[in-house]
Symmetry: none
Subunit: 234 residues, 2 copies
DNA sequence: TGTCGGCGTCAAGGACCCGTCAAGATCCCG
DNA sequence: CGGGATCTTGACGGGTCCTTGACGCCGACA
């Protein structure tokens, strides 16, 4: 489910936005000030941010800059200010869109759809190949030594999330929320069980995993062989 | 040079747009109707399209659909119509942005910049590079000499806060509140321990740190060398 | 020059987390 | 209604990480 972080100090508007977005089947997180917004964005990794510029603790443009320092998540800015310079500042800081309050809900939803559509194109090929096994995301198939590997639905779901975030660390909360739902973010035991099962089915040495890597206390990471120069080219 | 195709049946506005865009060093093509727009888009392959919806020969939304049939070039729509449904229709047809006439030239330019920025292929995540190690905030990964560095959750959190405030002084209270919570702002000893651990893992000479700098009595600062290093932002 | 506070370093204990196995509980399909 | 696969839950050993204390160094200051 698409995760949207909504940032606004107006609790009434915040609630209205959350209700409308949830009715459209978005997974909504909220924040009432800039510091909370930056913290929640870092911890939950949303797919899109709706950001009101008028925050109590810091300038909205600073929040945009703070996000842009580490993520390219789409940002749609809301503001009561209708001047050109305000819009130019926000957009040049890294915002993707700027809407002036009051705004129409349908238009906001449409702009959210447009922003997500732009961000959507996954350049990664649907099939991932490692020396030990291959994962075909579109066909939902895993092959090892040419033979298909039998995965349970939950096992596949966990693997899928990790592969979609290839090389990136996925926090335990992210995984649990994505696979089991928001109310299961505490059940870290599930992860241990299922990661162990996946490793037993996929890793050549399950006790010394090469791809399904644990980052103790944080989460898991799907590691791809990075042979040759570890160039992190721009 | 960035090529922009401007489509409008109002020749005066068309000329004004062309002049302004050329002054900003864009390479401008123009079209006065939908058929010409589609033909020119196909032949010249612009990097961005500015499209007035009010065209003499066909509906602007059809032009959007016609372009989206074969290209994902960013499209910024101009229109005199200010209704929500008009905006929703255009955006859902595949437009990237919608501006209501009359509009400010500076805002249009800013939205063009934003659209081009998004379209710019930047598959790699923003990374902080120093001569000694690299920090990938998005992937939560630290690399030194090409090999990943193992950080504990707390070590990573401290480093993350410092890197997010690149070059800026972070007070001890800020760090403690962010990483350990508001009730730990007195525990400055934690900082000494963890900064030492980070230096041991990251600095070439832990006793003479080049990046994790102490500001005695105040806090800490992440320092980057000016020469040859820097952020490759989004 | 002596004192004091802040900083860096090291080490140890205990809490916490991870991997593993296995036994119910539940779901799904025949 | 029955059986198998799958999911949940519990227990436990081993390892990691956080916390805490002790100590030396250095600069500020009297």
């Amino acid at each position: 489910m698409t995760r949207v972080l909504v940032v606004d100090d107006d609790t009434a508007l915040l609630r209205a936005l959350a209700i409308n977005l949830r009715a459209r089947h978005f997974d909504v997180e909220t924040a009432g000030d800039g510091a909370t917004a930056l913290r929640k964005a870092a911890s939950t990794g949303p797919d899109l941010v709706v950001l009101d510029l008028g925050l109590p603790d810091m300038d909205g443009v600073e929040v945009v800059a703070g996000l842009r320092g580490w993520t390219s998540v789409p940002i749609i800015v809301l503001s009561a200010r209708d001047t050109q310079s305000a819009k130019v500042d926000a957009l040049d800081a890294g915002a993707d869109d700027y809407m002036t309050k009051p705004f129409g809900m349908d238009e906001l939803i449409a702009r959210i759809r447009a922003a997500l559509r732009r961000a959507a194109p996954e350049p990664t090929s649907p099939v991932l190949v490692t020396p030990d096994f291959t994962v075909d995301l579109s066909a939902k198939r895993v092959t090892r030594d040419g033979a298909p590997v039998r995965l349970t639905p939950t096992e596949w779901h966990v693997l899928e999330v990790l592969v979609r975030n290839l090389g990136k660390l996925v926090t335990q909360q992210q995984l649990l929320r994505e696979v089991w739902g928001p109310s299961y973010v505490e059940e870290t035991h599930y992860l241990r069980v299922y990661l162990a099962q996946l490793r037993r089915k996929l890793e050549p040495e399950p006790s010394r995993p090469r791809h399904l890597i644990t980052e103790p206390g944080i989460g898991y990471r799907f590691e791809v062989e990075r042979q040759g120069s570890g160039r992190t080219g721009a």
